[in-house]
Symmetry: C2
Subunit: 569 residues, 2 copies
């Protein structure tokens, strides 16, 4: 860029870019609903899973490379032949179903595939949205009270019936669907907001309340849920807490370990863990609820939560930049922290490949005219629009003037805010649009965070597995994006079809790479089934032993969400 | 106040008040050092404990009402005759001391009261600063590495030697000093900052680093420790984490459960709990470090921590108000949240009695000319001074104009900031200036939070225990103050001398009062020895049972900080 640019007011260039973007939006079919686009992705996700596209079908090959029947995802037990059903677990019979029916009474409901054929009804509870995992549950229970959950658990514990707690089933690691015939306990019918205090901002809600519904409820009252993520339209608060979900507001509001004030859960033996405290401070003994935050349903079923919700910021601004290098992206982040201070609410990074993929999968036009190797999305949220604009302008003047960013747009209205966020939030779905995706969710120190992406691409090329054009190669692309402000990279290996050779080349190689940099192999997605054998890459033996002690203490029969989490070798 | 006042610009009145305050400060002996006054309180605290005043001495009566020898605080075992030394614990002998000397080598050190007389040297480790608790340890160990701590614990576990982990010994519930002859393991010599990342703001430090030193280190680098409290000049990071300290920045930065990223600890059997992670997100299994946050040294000794530190706000403003009622104080809080939004960093409440007590104990003049039943201190911290001032002025105009506050001052410089904070932070020490104090640290829902103070006063009066002037009565005053923004009340019963009749009238009455309002009997001070028998007022039986299971799991021999925490009846 010519030095002349330093004299050009940054804002004039920004406005120019906006005008271009507005025209480009106008040309597109209006595909954005009134709600933020990313809020609706999960629903679309599930449609994808239920009505498989041709490319997805062919991606489901059995061991011999034969496509499995249409609409059916391969059973997890077939994909992971090393997994064997634990023979200690009881096989369900008619008496069990009868007993559960009695517990549920008229308020709850169940899907009975034990005494009748309910294959189709069960499918949505057995299969995950990525079409990677498929269990063989024959019974889904939908309790409406914690007492019902307690009755179910007590019975299961006595009879050695394995269970799979399930929220919105939007997980990415196979933790939310059964592996074999575990009973699915779905929390979807426990979906009431129990109370909200408009002075303290404390929300008490059933575990099955959908995140987006909680957030809308709070929005009407001037508050915000301290967590936001792409699956918000489907995922449930209980599942969010059980998986310690991170997401888009983490940079500003921090971890659920800080925001969740109370947890109500049913223990494997039916006892109720009653810690639904609603005040910010409570130093009365061990903070045991913390164990349930991120336990992924392995020591109990969360039935209710209380959470401290911050005030909603009336002013929200979103800017989207193109940058010439990862080094410049880091610089932009440092400047955003400095210049935007307490109003910075998101700093997201997307690489050029991720943005091209998004545009290709959605037939969308990107906000900037030029192409850049890196993009970032910066969001501010504050209480005073004028002040925030002044801070943002100061930031923009600086990063444009110093040529830290090459080009940028600032959203001028809510529709543009949604369009810009869609460029970031649409990547996940776009990644699996063409046949499948291997997803990695990693914590890596900022300076090295992006290095993994070119390294992975190189590895795929070296192994002869990647080609952008050649359909004979299983890998189409390798893209990187993520919550840069949280040092959290999402690495997606975009597949034409799932291929065990690719998986073998990626794992444990990716985990080894992360371990060398003292990162985490699971930043926010959890362990589930996918990473059960890789915990050792982020935790030492002693820690894993201590974790298994906790599991043993709370669930001595091992009936809770078996085969997953820290159960691996 | 006349309606005319609505037309009077709030700021003119505020400036007037400031001028008065400035004159009043000028008249006083300059008693405020360059550092914030409250930062230096703990040192003064300890001086108090070491050089007991006449009134404090007479407050130490033995069972027969005889004053104990000068400079000596009553033994805890005498104050609590129901406590018996656990006979399973080994009595130290010469061989033990020799072994510990070998472990500590030349880098660590010990105070040996086993093979020689070291009574005076041991006193500061046996007695707490409130002069309420006094143990009988004959050995203090000061290791310098986690390996030394590990060696010590392994030996103690094998030999059944009870230990008392100790940080800065600034606790308020008798948790930081031994009860009988437990070996004190003092972390003071593990006092190095291990690393700091200037981009992410992550600090890794030894447990024995003093909070104020950590904060000063961070201040030089543009960051702030997410915790601040009166004892900052003496308390240590390890102790802060072990007690899940709350303090003055909680409203803004939240709980240590959210800010602490990693914990390194030595388990009772000498194993090292190695979870000193430095990135914000890690969902690789149970978040076990959370158990150590607030465990009060009962399941392990924290030797190192990593913590996410926010950026330091360059602009800090402090205002101090007089208000006519608690209802108006609540209104002021709601307005502060609304008008100050993301820059509100503290909202502290002090009642009139608390402020008078502070003035009396310190010979200080209060910032406002008039007397009010309530006062509050509001602090803002932000990245842009002009914006913050505009927000603050908007808030001031509103609360003055609407007569929510009756009068107020705004600090014009750092000295005034310190003076205003001293009015809040000085209450704790002032409360025990006249002979002693019964302190309660409670979480109570905001609307009822203050009700406990007049109720307690009434009870003291009804029992004939309180008189402001009559020295024959043990209770001089009942004052209430606290972190109103966190729904955290500090109730102090100001004593002329300790009196078991007062204690009997207060406990469990206070705890019953709090239980009825679903509050917590320990908001931020912890359980220690003081509340070991009262956990049941805030936790149900099932929860306490689960807590004891954790204790049993980690410390089957029960050697860690015995007689305290959840060990009570």
């Amino acid at each position: 860029m010519p030095p002349l640019n330093r004299c050009l007011p940054a804002l004039r260039r920004i406005r120019l870019a906006n005008a271009t973007f507005e025209r480009s939006i106008a040309r597109q079919t209006p595909r954005l609903p009134a709600l933020p686009a990313y809020a609706l992705l999960p629903q679309r996700r599930w449609q994808h899973a239920a009505t498989a596209s041709a490319s997805q079908e062919t991606s489901n090959e059995d061991e011999a490379g034969q496509p499995t029947p249409s609409k059916q995802i391969k059973y997890t037990s077939d994909s992971y032949p090393d997994l064997k059903r634990d023979s200690r677990f009881k096989q369900l019979d008619e008496a069990d179903v009868k007993h559960f029916k009695e517990i549920l009474g008229s308020s709850g409901s169940l899907i009975d595939g034990v005494t009748q054929d309910a294959q189709d009804d069960l499918e949505g509870y057995n299969a995950d949205w990525m079409r990677k995992y498929r269990g063989q549950a024959r019974l889904v229970l939908k309790p409406t009270t914690k007492e019902q959950v307690s009755g179910i658990m007590k019975y299961c514990n006595e009879k050695m019936i394995a269970v799979n707690p399930q929220g919105g089933n939007t997980g990415l690691v196979g933790g939310s669907v059964p592996v074999f015939d575990e009973v699915v306990i779905n929390l979807g019918k426990m979906n009431k907001i129990r109370s909200f205090d408009e002075v303290s901002g404390v929300l008490v809600a059933d575990a099955g309340v959908i995140l987006e519904e909680a957030d809308s409820y709070l929005a009407e009252r001037g508050y915000i849920f301290p967590l936001d993520l792409g699956a918000k339209g489907t995922c449930q608060l209980g599942g969010n807490v059980a998986t310690n979900a991170g997401g888009l507001r983490f940079l500003r509001y921090g971890s659920l370990h800080g925001n969740v004030l109370g947890v109500e859960a049913v223990l494997p033996d039916g006892r109720i863990f009653n810690d639904l405290f609603t005040l910010p401070k409570n130093n009365t003994g061990f903070d045991l609820k913390q164990l349930f935050i991120g336990a992924e349903g392995t020591i109990g079923i969360i039935t209710g939560i209380s959470v401290h919700c911050p005030q909603r910021s009336p002013a929200v601004n979103v800017a989207y930049f193109g940058l010439d290098s990862y080094e410049k992206t880091q610089q932009a982040f440092r400047e955003a922290k400095k210049k935007l201070g307490e109003i910075l609410s998101a700093f997201e990074m997307m690489d050029g490949a991720a943005q091209k993929l998004y545009a290709k999968a959605n037939g969308a036009k990107l906000p900037l005219e030029g192409e850049y190797p890196f993009y970032c999305l910066v969001e501010t949220s504050g209480s005073n629009g004028e002040h925030d604009e002044a801070k943002l302008n100061d930031f923009l003047e600086h990063v444009m003037g110093e040529e830290i960013v090459a080009d940028g747009v600032v959203a001028q209205d809510e529709t543009q805010v949604q369009s810009l966020w869609a460029c970031r939030e649409g990547i996940s779905e776009s990644s699996q649009h063409f046949g499948g995706v291997y997803k990695y969710d990693l914590s890596i120190p900022l300076p090295e965070l992006y290095d993994l992406v070119p390294a992975t691409r190189q590895r795929m090329e070296d192994e002869g597995l990647l080609d952008a054009e050649d359909d004979a190669k299983p890998v189409m692309d390798v893209v990187g994006y993520g919550h840069m402000g949280d040092q959290n990279l999402h690495l997606n290996v975009v597949m034409r079809r799932y291929d065990k050779k690719v998986e073998a080349a990626l794992e444990p190689w990716v985990y080894e790479w992360v371990r060398e940099r003292q990162g985490s192999i699971s930043a926010e997605h959890g362990l589930g089934l996918a990473k059960r054998n890789y915990v050792g890459y982020s935790r030492d033996e002693e820690m894993i032993k201590l974790m298994r002690q906790i599991k043993q203490l709370y669930d001595p029969n091992g009936i809770m969400n078996p085969y997953k989490y820290v159960s691996g070798g």
